[in-house]
Symmetry: C2
Subunit: 271 residues, 2 copies
């Protein structure tokens, strides 16, 4: 694709150029820089994008697991997406991201054809004020990607641990900044935009890094289209911090009370 | 390995014979049969076993994602485990299970060297009666693997939907049957032994199948050794049932209140 003045920075960041046979080239984007290297969410989205663009793709994303196997350097990379097994209504994928002839990240995914069945929602939409009743958090200057999201915290702002509740939970309204209609790629990236829970639980900055991330997409394309660029509600918490790793789990809701995605990750922390 | 009269059925079920270069042969086991093919938990454990036995393995299991890509037939299979990337303290894996020259299941995993750090537990151990205060559920005759687990339900027995609470949650004490000391492989299998939440939520039997499963191991080898063959407490629930798929999330606790594992899966259901 050709980036123009009207291309959203997210589309530029996840853009891949097909080079044939499930192979692509891509590049990191300054608007989604992290403390070191790129924000993992855009890498997750780029890997999912390699599947979505693949000519053999069946159905829409159902699950995505991303392994951040090594530090990713700012600059170019190649991606290869491969359909490992294709069934009648589900398809299983393996995708690798290579830099300097080594795999720096890889993903597995399921795409699936959805159809109407019995349905019910067990999770409960949280009782929160509307997004526009809360001021957005200012971006963190040295973490570029925080300027590419609007975050309105109801509770659980990082760096202000709630020692009274002893909880790592955050509740916040979130969307791309500048606003952009939600699609599977943007949702995949957003699922990695919850700050590491250790910074909510403990007022100390230590090196951290997501090791592996799994997202389940509950929304179909029609629900995402209805969502447009309105804020989504995120709820994230950790269950356990121990021996250099913690888990983190989150829900992403539409304002109308549709559960759009659930996401889980295991994160390294230094001390 | 050679199975003897004293070999536990689980060890027989996950036994792999190395054939060199990260390749193994294995076979399904009648004691862990499911409605069709093998119980997914033993497949997950066998795939993890291929990593644990691998001569290049660094550290202990931290995460495991298994894709049940196609039906697995009763009988033999080959497994290939490959270290995709090895770092100083973490290692990322890709493992495939092949039957009839096609990938029927595959997994990604992280093994890691654990070390002491600051730690805290956010999740709360449920208030439950002791295991021996509850009678075990009888095995389900046509589902062999249910005879290989002892399950003592505190709440959320499948087939008896709790329509009052409208919850898919189950709380139960679980262990291998016959009892066997817990290790990473047995814990990996146990994480798939929660009945599909749809059978807790709705009193109707429909075809279901786990599509993909992710487990995070919070326990280290020392904690597992202390656990021995005592029952663990499982808590499972679903968040959303929609368009032929639901998610399912669970915690596995020691009786002493250690969080041993958390696990998530996305499950297909027919109608």
């Amino acid at each position: 694709m050709t980036a123009t003045d009207t291309t959203h920075r997210f589309d530029a960041a996840v853009a891949l150029t097909p080079t044939g046979d499930g192979m692509y080239t891509g590049s990191t984007h300054a608007g989604y820089g992290n403390m070191v290297g790129p924000f993992g969410g855009v890498i997750a989205a780029a890997l999912l994008g390699a599947i979505i663009q693949h000519p053999q793709r069946l159905g829409d994303p159902l699950s995505l697991t991303v392994h951040f196997a090594a530090p990713i350097a700012d600059g170019g990379y190649t991606v290869e997406a491969k359909a490992v097994r294709t069934n009648r209504t589900t398809q299983h994928w393996y995708v690798t991201l290579v830099q300097d002839d080594e795999v720096a990240a890889f993903a597995t995914a399921v795409t699936a054809v959805r159809r109407d069945t019995w349905q019910t929602l067990d999770a409960v939409f949280p009782d929160v004020p509307a997004a526009d009743a809360i001021a957005p958090m200012p971006a963190i200057a040295r973490v570029a990607w925080t300027g590419s999201y609007e975050m309105r915290f109801v509770d659980g702002l990082p760096g202000a641990p709630d020692t009274a509740s002893e909880s790592s939970e955050s509740l916040l309204w979130m969307r791309d900044q500048p606003p952009r209609p939600l699609d599977f790629l943007a949702l995949a990236a957003l699922c990695d935009a919850f700050f590491p829970r250790i910074f909510v639980r403990r007022p100390k900055w230590v090196p951290i890094g997501t090791v592996a991330l799994t997202t389940y997409f509950h929304a179909d394309a029609a629900q995402l289209a209805v969502q447009g660029s309105a804020p989504v509600l995120g709820r994230a918490r950790a269950l356990n911090f121990r021996q250099g790793f913690f888990d983190q789990t989150a829900e992403v809701w539409s304002a109308a009370g549709d559960l759009l995605a659930t996401t889980h990750q295991v994160v390294y922390y230094k001390e």
